[in-house]
């Protein structure tokens, strides 16, 4: 029942907004639907805290400590993003960048995208997870091209074809996984694709097939995570689409993709009894961190800058999951949470900043703080948070990851530190003049919604100072689950 409510609400919302998405009240309806989804997620969380792992619909859906916090996070960020998009899309409409058909498309696909991500997170079926991941891509392709500019069409095409090919690799990986599992679990019913069943027999799965499956799954879902060198679509899709979409792509979709990779890694590692999957994750992660840090220097577009920063953070998370063990997994989960909150907050601030300046080119955005202190401070604090300055939560998780790396993979620590330093300088040197100095900004027809920015940053700050015991316990249980303890 809870699952039905959680997944049904956004789907019903997508249908409703497909018809009425351009009405005057559509943005409010969008917020109301997201709120209902969030409440359903909270109800589900409350039940899991009480009852532990839950399954539903013939074990097709399940909630365990690992995905329940991602479900809540996804619902929360989609709620705050809908609050942000309310004035944002109204301003875009008054600036003449979108018409009523595009608004309808935007609202409807936004809800469908949320539904696809929630399905990918809650399904127990590896095949269904693939279907949901592909659905999440498809629902956002036309949103990336919402403005119909040449650049946005190019971004949309890249997104479609690269993620399409990537996800096809993941399908092959899923087929191989099924092939290996069918020998142990039998082809009758669906049990050979259910993660909980697979996890139970992972020691008996054929290692040679599973390692091949993992390579394909990692390349496939890794494309969606934006791991270098498969990251080409990511900066374009983030920069050219409307900002609410950049916020959910960066804050949520990348997390869901990492979730898929980690679920696969747990199975494969259990079957292989070797460190190969971990080493592959660490390798991809480290390459992404380093590459992204250096690409940050060459960016001129503010949304591309933060898109590369997302690649960098996805690299850090992947590296941490690669190290494995309860502590590193704990840190990676924490980093997923704080990155998602901080990065979406930054995109909210960036969206309004770009609207005020009338451009996304960083050289032309100046002195935000003079005209609008809230946008300026939101961007500044968000940037400091994402760069890992204490006392924000990103500092806590990065600190944990670095100290674990020193103990377990000491060779990687200097590389990580160097990349983090380079990224710090690259981003800070750009953001500082945008916030301070002479202003070039203009006034907007609707007051910007900055409440979500500060709500997110407050949460990140809180997580940096003190992790509530039930949340810590939750992360710990998820970390143990991933570590296979």
């Amino acid at each position: 029942m809870n699952f039905l409510l959680l997944l049904g609400t956004p789907v019903a919302g997508a249908v409703l907004l497909g018809f009425f998405g351009a009405r005057r009240w559509a943005p409010e309806a969008n917020v109301a639907i997201s709120l209902a989804t969030f409440l359903a997620a909270c109800a589900l969380t409350a039940r899991v805290i009480g009852a532990g792992t839950l399954t539903a619909a013939d074990e097709q859906f399940f909630i365990d400590p690992f995905n329940v916090f991602l479900v809540t996070l996804t619902a929360l960020v989609s709620l705050t993003t809908s609050l942000f998009s309310r004035p944002y899309m109204r301003i875009e409409r008054e600036h003449g960048r979108v018409g009523s058909a595009q608004l309808r498309l935007f609202h409807s696909m936004y809800q469908l995208f949320i539904a696809a991500m929630l399905l990918a997170l809650t399904t127990n079926n590896m095949g269904l997870m693939w279907v949901a991941m592909e659905a999440a891509t498809l629902s956002t392709v036309l949103l990336v091209t919402l403005y119909r500019t040449p650049a946005s069409l190019e971004a949309g095409w890249k997104y479609f074809i690269l993620c399409g090919v990537g996800i096809a690799q993941a399908l092959f990986g899923t087929i191989l996984l099924y092939f290996a599992a069918e020998k142990v679990l039998g082809a009758e019913g669906m049990s050979a694709l259910l993660w909980t069943h697979l996890n139970g027999v992972k020691g008996q799965l054929e290692p040679t097939v599973l390692i091949l499956a993992f390579v394909f799954l990692l390349v496939g879902y890794g494309t969606k995570v934006g791991l270098a060198p498969l990251h080409n679509w990511l900066p374009d899709a983030h920069a050219e689409g409307p900002t609410p979409i950049s916020a959910v792509l960066s804050g949520l979709l990348l997390n869901v993709a990492i979730y898929a990779v980690v679920r696969c890694k747990v199975l494969v590692e259990g079957a292989l009894h070797s460190a190969l999957p971990s080493q592959m994750l660490m390798g991809f992660g480290l390459v992404s961190v380093v590459l992204a840090a250096f690409f940050l220097w060459r960016q001129r577009d503010i949304k591309r800058l933060f898109a590369y920063s997302s690649i960098e953070h996805m690299g850090i998370i992947t590296f941490a999951f690669g190290m494995g063990g309860p502590v590193a997994n704990f840190a990676a989960l924490l980093h997923m949470t704080v990155h998602s909150l901080t990065k979406s907050a930054i995109f909210f601030a960036v969206g309004h900043a770009a609207q005020k300046a009338g451009t996304q080119i960083m050289d032309d955005i100046r002195g935000l703080i003079t005209l609008s202190p809230t946008v300026g401070w939101g961007l500044m604090l968000g940037t400091l948070a994402i760069l890992g300055l204490p006392p924000f939560g990103v500092f806590a998780s990065e600190f944990l990851i670095l100290t674990t790396a020193m103990r377990e993979q000491s060779w990687a620590t200097p590389i990580l530190l160097l990349a983090l330093g380079v990224a710090f300088a690259a981003i800070f040197r750009r953001v500082q003049p945008m916030v301070f100095g002479e202003t070039t900004a203009r006034r907007l027809p609707h007051p910007p919604a900055l409440m979500p920015v500060f709500v997110h940053l407050t949460l990140v700050l809180t997580l940096g100072l003190f992790i509530p015991p039930y949340l810590a316990d939750w992360f710990r249980r998820a970390a143990d689950l991933i570590a296979g303890i």
Binding site: N125, T149, W157, V165, I175, L176, L193
Partner: protein, 222 residues
Amino acid sequence: MNETGFDLQLLNTFAALLLLSSFAMLSQRRVVTMVNLLAIQGVLLGLATLLLAWRTGKGHLYVSGAITLTLKAAFLPWLLHRLIRRLGVYWDSEPLLNIAGTMLVGLLIVIFAFGLAQPIAALATTTTRSSIGIAVAVVLLAFLTMITRRKAMSQVVGFLSMENGLFFGAMSATYGMPMIIELGVALDILVAMLVLGVFFFQIREQFDSLDLHHLESLKEEK
């Protein structure tokens, strides 16, 4: 279910023809012909699935064969032909590599594919396990087709051919995925093509062409 029956030989023939059609697609420069080859692949795939369904008596394979025939052999080629007519894109530009070179690379890829499929085929218990190598080869050849093309339409045909290869792989290794997954995959492919149709018209409206070199301005040096 003997290992040398006529039906098995027929299945192997279908597999061989599938590989042949992939090579034909690789060497083809006319987009219309590529779509026709895709339709042939769909027919071969559908017939092979139905034959396998009859051979193994698995009910869900009948359904998936029927879906394959309607979707991949009829509907998608029809949709692509319609798009080609409406957009007026009949020819691909010169491939990035000349045809002879591409074919040579294709040959190497087939050898590699059989090597890759070796451990899987060794473990498979299905009577169709010898076709797993062909399925992997079809996937990789489709990948090569996508890499060497410059027009959006040809890349899409390559993409669909890759999906055909994956479907064939699932069929030869495990007699197909569970029904709900195949339905989900088919639905995703269908939606993808519809999204693509909308998308092509947007590209066309903006550039008057579907040549991908218009879509190469988002570089880092900008």
